[in-house]
C-alpha cells in the first residue's frame, strides 16, 4: 500500500491507497489519515481484506496509541468492514459515523471503540483542537452519508462523490480531467440515486474553499480540477437504473 502525505503544515493529511489485492475482485479504495499532534483520525478505514496493509501503513506514520478517531462516511463493507479488527487493536478510540447506520455498523463487531452518532445535519470532529467539519451528503450514494471538510487545509473528503473505477497502479491525482471522465461517469450515474441530493450537495460544497477533493475510489482532484468536477457532476443525470 502506498502512503503519500498530501498536506503538511501544523497538521498533516495522508492518503493510504493503491494496494493491489490480487485475485480477489475487490474494488480499489482510498483511505485517508489526518494527524494533529498526538491525535490521528483514519477516514474510511476500509474492508477486512485491507486491514493488514492498512495497519502497516498507519504504523509507518504514527504509533497505534495515537490513533484516536475513525470516520465512516457510510455503512458499506469497503468503507468499514474492518471495524471489528480495529476494535481489537485500538484501546481508546471513537468512531464518527452516521446515526442512522449505528444499529447496522455495530453488526461488524464493536466492543471497545465508542460509536459517536453523527446526526443528519452533520457536526464537527475535534481532533486535538483541529475542527473538522462533517458535511451531510445523504443519498450520495448512501441514504445516510457524510463527508469531511478541513477548512485550514482546504481539503474535502468526498466519499463516493468523485470516485472512479480504475487499476490499482493509477496515479494519485487526476492529470487530464477530460480523459478521467470515462472512468467515473458510469459510477456516478449508477451509484448515485438522486439528482435533487446531488444538486443540493453541489450548492453547499461550492461555497467551500477546496484545494484538494479526496474521493474514496480513484484519483484525487486538485486546483482547477475541483471546479471542473463540480461542474461536470452538476450536469450529469444520475439514478439511471430505473
Amino acid at each position: 500500500m502506498k502512503s503519500l502525505k498530501i498536506y503538511d503544515q501544523q497538521h498533516q493529511w495522508f492518503i493510504l491507497a493503491r494496494e493491489d489485492v490480487k485475485g480477489k475482485s475487490l474494488i480499489e479504495t482510498n483511505q485517508y489519515m489526518v494527524r494533529n499532534g498526538e491525535r490521528t483520525l483514519i477516514i474510511d478505514p476500509g474492508g477486512v481484506e485491507l486491514f493488514a496493509p492498512m495497519l502497516s501503513s498507519v504504523l509507518q506514520n504514527v504509533p497505534i496509541d495515537q490513533v484516536t478517531d475513525l470516520f465512516a462516511s457510510h455503512q458499506d463493507p469497503d468503507v468499514i468492514s474492518s471495524l471489528n479488527l480495529w476494535d481489537q487493536v485500538l484501546t481508546n478510540a471513537k468512531l464518527h459515523a452516521p446515526s442512522i447506520w449505528e444499529g447496522f455498523i455495530r453488526h461488524f463487531g464493536l466492543n471497545n471503540v465508542e460509536y459517536v452518532s453523527v446526526k443528519d445535519d452533520g457536526g464537527v470532529v475535534d481532533l486535538g483542537g483541529l475542527q473538522l467539519q462533517i458535511i451531510p451528503a445523504h443519498y450520495l450514494h448512501s441514504s445516510g452519508n457524510i463527508h469531511l471538510y478541513d477548512k485550514e487545509a482546504k481539503i474535502l473528503f468526498s466519499g463516493d462523490v468523485g470516485a472512479a473505477l480504475e487499476e490499482p497502479a493509477s496515479p494519485m491525482y487526476v492529470d487530464d480531467f477530460n480523459e478521467h471522465i470515462s472512468k467515473m461517469e458510469y459510477f456516478h450515474k449508477r451509484w448515485m440515486p438522486s439528482n435533487t441530493a446531488k444538486s443540493n450537495w453541489i450548492e453547499r460544497v461550492s461555497r467551500l474553499e477546496i484545494d484538494i477533493l479526496c474521493p474514496q475510489h480513484g484519483r484525487m482532484f486538485k486546483g482547477d480540477d475541483v471546479k471542473r468536477f463540480l461542474d461536470w457532476f452538476d450536469q450529469l443525470p444520475v439514478g439511471i437504473a430505473v
Partner: protein, 219 residues
C-alpha cells in the same frame, strides 16, 4: 498438513481446534439433538397412552406398568437433557465464533509482522502488546472451546446411554405385552412404537456425537 503463521507462532499448532469446524459441529449437534427432542416428546405421549391402557387393563398388564412408567421417566429426562444440550451448544457456537475472530486478528497481525520483516515499520513496536495479547487470548479461547466441547459431548453421551437402555427395555416390553390378554395387541403396538422412536433418537444422537468427535480432530 499446513499451518498459518499465527498457528505456528502461537505455539499450539497441533493442539489448536478449527473454530470454523467447531461452529458447524456445535450447530449441527444442536439441530440433531433438537430433532431427538421432538421424538422424545412423541415418546412421552406414547408412554403416557401406554400407562392409560395399563390402568384399564388392571392386573392383566401389571408387568407393562413398570415399562410404561420407565418410558415416561425416560422421555421426561431426555427432554430436559435436550434443553441442556441446546444451552451448551449455543455457548459453544459463541465461543467458537469468538475464537474465530481472535484467530482472524492473529492472522492479520502476522501479516503485519511479515511486512515489518520485509520493510521496517517505524512504529511497529507500538502494536507488539496487541500481538502478544491476541496470541494469549487465542490460546485461552482455544482451551475454553475444548472444555465446552467435552461438556457438550458428555451431555449427548448421557442421552445416548439413556436411549440404549430404552431400546433394551422396549424389547422386554414386548414380552410383557404378550401377557396382557385382550390388551396384548394395543400394548404390542405401543412397544413397537417405543422401539421405533428410540431407534430414531439414537440415529440423531449418533450423528451429533460424530460431529462433535470430528470437531476435536485436528486439521
Amino acid at each position: 498438513m499446513s499451518f498459518t503463521a499465527s498457528q505456528l507462532e502461537c505455539g499450539f499448532g497441533m493442539e489448536q481446534l478449527d473454530a470454523n469446524k467447531v461452529v458447524v459441529a456445535a450447530s449441527t449437534a444442536a439441530a440433531e439433538i433438537s430433532n431427538a427432542g421432538h421424538i422424545a416428546k412423541q415418546l412421552s405421549l406414547v408412554a403416557k397412552n401406554a400407562r392409560t391402557v395399563v390402568l384399564r387393563a388392571g392386573d392383566a398388564a401389571l408387568g407393562f406398568k413398570v415399562v410404561s412408567d420407565f418410558f415416561v421417566e425416560l422421555s421426561t429426562s431426555s427432554i430436559f437433557l435436550v434443553s441442556q444440550v441446546n444451552i451448551v451448544a449455543i455457548e459453544l457456537s459463541r465461543g467458537a465464533i469468538e475464537c474465530w475472530d481472535a484467530n482472524r486478528l492473529s492472522q492479520k497481525l502476522d501479516d503485519v509482522v511479515l511486512r515489518h520483516k520485509e520493510e521496517e515499520i517505524e512504529y511497529f513496536s507500538s502494536i507488539e502488546p496487541s500481538i502478544s495479547k491476541g496470541r494469549e487470548g487465542t490460546a485461552k479461547l482455544n482451551d475454553d472451546l475444548k472444555h465446552q466441547i467435552k461438556k457438550l459431548s458428555s451431555l449427548v453421551d448421557d442421552i445416548r446411554q439413556q436411549m440404549r437402555a430404552g431400546k433394551v427395555i422396549s424389547v422386554i416390553s414386548r414380552i410383557e405385552a404378550s401377557r396382557a390378554g385382550e390388551f396384548r395387541q394395543a400394548l404390542e403396538e405401543m412397544a413397537d412404537k417405543v422401539e421405533a422412536l428410540t431407534e430414531r433418537m439414537i440415529v440423531h444422537i449418533q450423528t451429533a456425537m460424530t460431529q462433535l468427535e470430528e470437531a476435536q480432530v485436528n486439521n
